[in-house]
């Protein structure tokens, strides 16, 4: 069954037609934000006055153009929507030929609209959020670079150009997480994110090498044309290497630890990383490489395991964090875990992974902007134990955050309900023991999600006011609240719009294969999900809604302390990666100093000492030179005579 699916897929992948009409200018999508980044970063202080206007306008221009391209795509019949935009020949060395080109298909345009749409809203919010920051212009330059890199990542028609975007995203996230570099923590967090990402990048790099060695090309059409020729072991290796890359970028276990620290960046950055760019890249990579994963059962199983572990891991961390942004970061990790799990289920899950990704983009961006709005009004306080009762002080933030909250916990009829349920069902439908375990993990995750998000809600917006004396929170300016309102509308309606009437399924099927027909909306799985969600909400209400929340975190026993410490993610990295690494470097230094240097130095000292002694022979007395010449001549003569005789 898988091979026929792959064949069908391969057929669609290789028959990407040349783009025509307005789509031929699709490179403009990249040019807008890239131009914004160049103007703002090269223009320097001269652009300070109007930098934020350019910075916010560029993603919007991209979005408007993306919508035009999208409608141009809709005008084609479903089988002919995959279009190739040739830009220029990038590398031509012998038999190795790489064209810089864009692939416009249903998958990439979904990402383009998400990235530019949600990205524009976040840029708008940032105009207000960063208003008092003297470096706002530089901030917008980096943000535009971020968007441009992500667009290149999703639009590239070969793995090499994808890799350029991949690295650009890593660079931009590094610059933005460490944006407030005068504080001690952000640069450390930025370095951590960069290094954790490099580990993943290593996997992607080797995967690209392996593709070139196996297929002789790195273009999507070349690799996906006949993936079956490679043999299962190679395909499994490719799948696992791509998974490693996805783990780094998408903060999946075991490379998850950077995501929580990345909260040191300004809040719009967190929103951009979590909703529109960066962490979605890993899911995109897996779904884009579907023809490879379709042919390797083992690689897919690894993907589902990583997804299931991460979705529980992130959810448990989210339960224990008092920092509102870190609680949301845990939830992102968990939701991306859902997407990874769905992507690992093969054609049954690809569509739902992307649907959940888009719905998540709306409600998570809304939640982060809400958290940013709260933080902005509370003098940069992020400890939820110092919040409480904000619902009256900040009504718009409360309502938009609340709608995002209803979206993420999967309360019907909000978007999370429509996009998360199919993932849980697809996990159960996988069948066998693995299906039951994965489904149970996804089901449990839904309950935990309801718990920790309700906890965030109660601690922030309900209960008595636990603010500092001098905080006077009031509603944020309209430039910050209007993006939140738009995102809230998205988190209400996106899920229903995508999933009902199979809109998104039918739209994406030509690219990633069709899932089996959905069951009705009401069945035992969706009912038990709903029951677990209600239990989660009830438990959170009992713990944080009914009782007053102490202003200082109470002492706790094992599971809570573990979750507060990110389930020992840092301790794991330190003991398993950092310490052995340090030992290795120390050993290498010792070997270098004593072994290599010792050998070379001894040789040099021997030569030096000998020549120092030999030097004494040069006395400057002509007669001693004459004597040595004479002796030498006699010796030579003697030797001649001896040989002759």
């Amino acid at each position: 069954m898988t091979s026929s699916l792959a064949a069908a897929h391969a057929a669609s992948a290789t028959t990407a037609l040349a783009a025509a009409g307005v789509q031929r200018a699709a490179w403009l999508l990249l040019v807008f934000p890239l131009a914004g980044a160049l103007i703002l970063l090269l223009g320097g202080r001269r652009t300070n006055r109007f930098g934020h206007i350019i910075g916010a306008a560029m993603p919007m221009a991209s979005f408007v153009f993306g919508v035009i391209v999208f409608f141009a795509m809709l005008s084609y019949p479903a089988g002919q929507r995959s279009r190739d935009v040739h830009m220029f020949t990038w590398i031509a060395v012998g038999r190795f030929h790489v064209d810089a080109g864009l692939l416009l298909d249903q998958l990439s345009i979904s990402f383009v609209l998400l990235i530019t749409g949600v990205g524009s809203l976040i840029h708008l919010f940032a105009v207000g959020y960063m208003a008092s920051d003297p470096e706002r212009r530089r901030f917008f330059g980096y943000m535009n670079l971020f968007v441009a890199s992500m667009l290149l990542l999703v639009l590239a028609n070969n793995y090499l150009a994808l890799y350029v975007g991949w690295e650009g995203v890593g660079l931009a996230s590094y610059l933005l997480i460490g944006f407030w570099q005068y504080k001690p923590e952000p640069p450390v967090a930025a370095k951590k994110a960069f290094i954790a990402n490099r580990v993943g990048d290593f996997g992607l790099t080797v995967a690209i090498f392996l593709m070139f060695a196996t297929f002789g090309t790195v273009s999507f059409s070349g690799v996906f044309g006949h993936p079956g020729t490679a043999g299962t072991p190679t395909l499994t290796a490719l799948g696992l290497l791509l998974l490693l890359g996805a783990c780094g970028k998408s903060a999946q276990v075991p490379l998850q630890s950077w995501l929580l620290d990345a909260m040191e960046g300004p809040t719009p950055v967190s929103a951009l990383i979590h909703a529109a760019t960066m962490v979605t890249a890993g899911v995109y990579l897996i779904v884009r490489s579907a023809p490879i994963f379709n042919l390797s059962q083992d690689a897919r199983l690894a993907v589902t395991i990583v997804g299931a572990v991460t979705l529980l891991f992130g959810a448990i961390i989210g339960c224990a964090k008092d920092d509102i942004k870190k609680a949301l970061a845990g939830s992102t990790m968990s939701q991306i875990g859902y997407m990874t799990l769905a992507a690992g289920l093969g054609p049954a899950g690809y569509v739902f992974a992307i649907a959940h990704l888009i719905a998540h983009g709306f409600f998570k961006a809304g939640l982060f902007l809400g958290a940013g709005s709260v933080k902005h009004e509370m003098d940069d306080e992020v400890d939820m134990r110092r919040f409480g009762g904000l619902r009256t002080a900040m009504p718009i933030t409360f309502v938009t955050f609340g709608l995002g909250y209803l979206g993420i916990i999967g309360c019907p009829p909000f978007s999370g309900y429509f996009t998360k349920d199919p993932i849980i069902q697809a996990a159960f439908d996988k069948g066998g023991a693995s299906g039951a375990i994965l489904g149970a993990a996804a089901l449990l995750g839904a309950g935990i999600t309801a718990f920790y998000m309700t906890r965030v809600m109660f601690m922030t917006f309900f209960g008595e006011r636990r603010w500092e004396e001098e905080a006077h929170p009031h509603e944020a300016p309209p430039i910050m609240t209007s993006p939140m309102i738009v995102l809230a509308i998205g988190s209400v309606g996106a899920g229903a719009f995508l999933i009902l009437a199979n809109r998104f399924v039918n739209f994406l099927t030509p690219v990633v294969g069709s899932p089996p027909p959905a069951r009705g909306l009401i069945n035992w799985i969706s009912l038990s999900t709903l029951a677990l969600v209600i239990v989660g909400v009830a438990v959170a209400w009992a713990m944080y809604g009914r009782r007053p929340v102490p202003a200082v975190a109470p002492g706790a026993r094992f599971p809570v302390t573990a979750a507060r410490r990110d389930l020992y993610g840092d301790a794991f990295n330190e003991s398993v990666l950092m310490r052995p690494g340090q030992w290795l470097t120390r050993l290498s230094v010792y070997f270098d100093n004593r072994g290599v240097d010792g050998l070379v130095n001894t040789l040099a000292a021997t030569v030096g000492g000998t020549s120092g002694r030999m030097r004494r022979v040069q006395t400057g007395f002509v007669r001693s030179y004459a004597l040595s010449m004479f002796v030498g001549a006699v010796l030579l003569l003697g030797a001649f005579l001896l040989v002759r005789i």
Binding site: R615, Q618, G620, F621, V622, R623, A626, F630
Partner: protein
Amino acid sequence: MSPTHFVALAVILFVIGAVGVLVRRNALVILMCVELMLNAVNLAFVAFARLHANLDGQVIAFFVMVVAAAEVVVGLAILMAIFRARRSASVDDASLLKY
């Protein structure tokens, strides 16, 4: 006169010259001793050339004389310069060019 006599005389002259170069300090005498060694060799060349009725040895003798004349010119010029600077013709005094 057999060739042995010529060779013996050449050896005696050469040894005198060589010993002179090694034991004398006066640069002028050393130069003269070098001349002596060169002429001892010349003598041997000429003697053998005559013995073998071959002109090569005679020709080489001429070359040696030309080279010796040139060597003496340069050598004496250096000697003059050193003597003017140091008021001494002893080669042991001119020993600054060393390690």
